[in-house]
Symmetry: C2
Subunit: 269 residues, 2 copies
């Protein structure tokens, strides 16, 4: 499933099924064939589960890799977004992934670790899964460092700064905050003493492990009075030109302001 995907939905995503017995598989194929275009039977429930885990792990690892590339490019003074766009011109053998403030949702941050746990029982460490998890989990802190540095350039501390978080859903154009990196990021900011508010047109209330906030209205004065506006979720509905036009400082963790070109008040990952 890919929530929010306008092109692919339940019916036209091939369903992989594996049964405990051959009869189970046949019944599952018969059932799913009523609702989806293509059903792909595999040898067992264990194979079917591993398919899901490979796919989730592929995404977690590739996001981890590109997050590490963002960190590396930052150290070398290279624009990682330009690098990815140029690499994506290759017509085969490459698939672009993009850096960001971390991964969320109910699959990619969680499922690979089932596999990791299972193979540890066999005495093996799933090293790619562990590394991807470490790097992806470190991204909210990396974005915090970007915010700290950008404020520091203006002689300001994070403590006491008014920070507006734009977007708290775990990805664009959906209303789901499960495992969203925004949750960790807001807590990190609060721990540093920032005055944090957020705006998300799809998430009116945020309640999570001691966090209890309401989405503020995105007025010009909210934008202007914030010491930093941090873009965490790149909802298409946001008016990025207006945001970058009104805000003193924007930390754009998703390259959402790409079309605006380079701006002095916008810092990217």
């Amino acid at each position: 499933m890919d929530p929010g995907n306008p092109q692919y939905h339940t019916r036209n995503i091939t369903k992989v099924v594996g049964g405990y017995t051959k009869t189970c598989t046949d019944l599952a194929v018969a059932l799913y064939s009523q609702a989806v275009d293509k059903v792909f039977p595999v040898a067992s429930t264990r194979v079917a589960e591993t398919v899901k885990l490979l796919e989730n792990t592929f995404r977690s690892v590739n996001i981890g890799l590109v997050n590490e590339m963002a960190i590396i490019c930052n150290k070398l003074g290279i624009d990682v977004w330009e690098v990815i766009d140029a690499a994506a011109t290759k017509p085969f053998g490459f698939m672009p992934f993009y850096p960001g403030p971390g991964i969320g949702g109910h699959c990619i941050p969680l499922d690979p670790h089932y596999l990791s746990w299972r193979v540890r029982l066999e005495g093996y460490e799933a090293r790619f899964i562990e590394l991807a998890g470490q790097i992806n989990r470190s991204m909210p802190e990396y974005v915090l460092n970007k915010v700290t540095d950008a404020l520091n350039d203006k002689g300001k501390a994070v403590k006491g700064a008014k920070i507006l978080v734009l977007g708290v859903a775990y990805k664009n154009d959906i209303n789901d905050v499960r495992e969203s990196p925004a949750l960790d990021f807001i807590k990190l900011l609060q721990n540093k003493g920032a005055k944090v508010s957020y705006h998300d047109p799809y998430i009116k209330d945020l309640s999570h492990e001691g966090l209890s906030m309401k989405s503020v209205t995105l007025t010009d004065s909210t934008l202007k009075s914030s010491d930093a506006v941090v873009l965490i979720t790149n909802h298409k509905i946001f008016d990025y030109k207006r945001i970058a036009g009104k805000a003193k400082l924007v930390i754009d963790s998703r390259n959402a302001t790409k079309k605006l070109g380079k701006r002095k008040n916008v810092v990217k990952l």
Copy 2:
């Protein structure tokens, strides 16, 4: 470049160029536009080089990931090839890579380590590059273990066993052995005391760091008299039905015998 690719060649692979100055970039674009369909200018030579390194690293990491998945699936008694084929039914967001005896060629095993070296100067370790390198370099030894186990099941040692290596080029349908995992694999076998010969229709002689061999003819008697036939490079020209039909034991590191179905005398990665 993708040697041996029938669809994409110099003209229809977009060329990314970055110049030292704006004039350099303009001149490079003018030059390349004569020979290739699309030229994609980037901000600097450093960005252009990083594009190449991202692409190479993407491939190295994804091959490393799927090699680790092969090791994990082997421990869990799951067919990794079936898992990959099923995952590849996903119509977006997934790109299949395949496990094998290691990586070769003049780019993927080498170039990511330029980046790794460069960022180490900045005090950062490129962890994905290092991990991919470690796992990919360990694959010839992993294939050796498969050979050892399969011979052991028959009460045979590697020492003194007649082993025929099929394919020594670093990938299928080309005549290039640079950094080929076959070179490491043959040395590992020789170090264990095996009597190694090889057949590769594209590589008549093999000379490399103390190795000096000639491709043998692939007769029925060569196949029958080998204790194990190890498929390292999946050249399309090979007649896999004949090979699996005549050989006592086949270690297939590339799933080249996929179309033959499961066979008792064929062991896969």
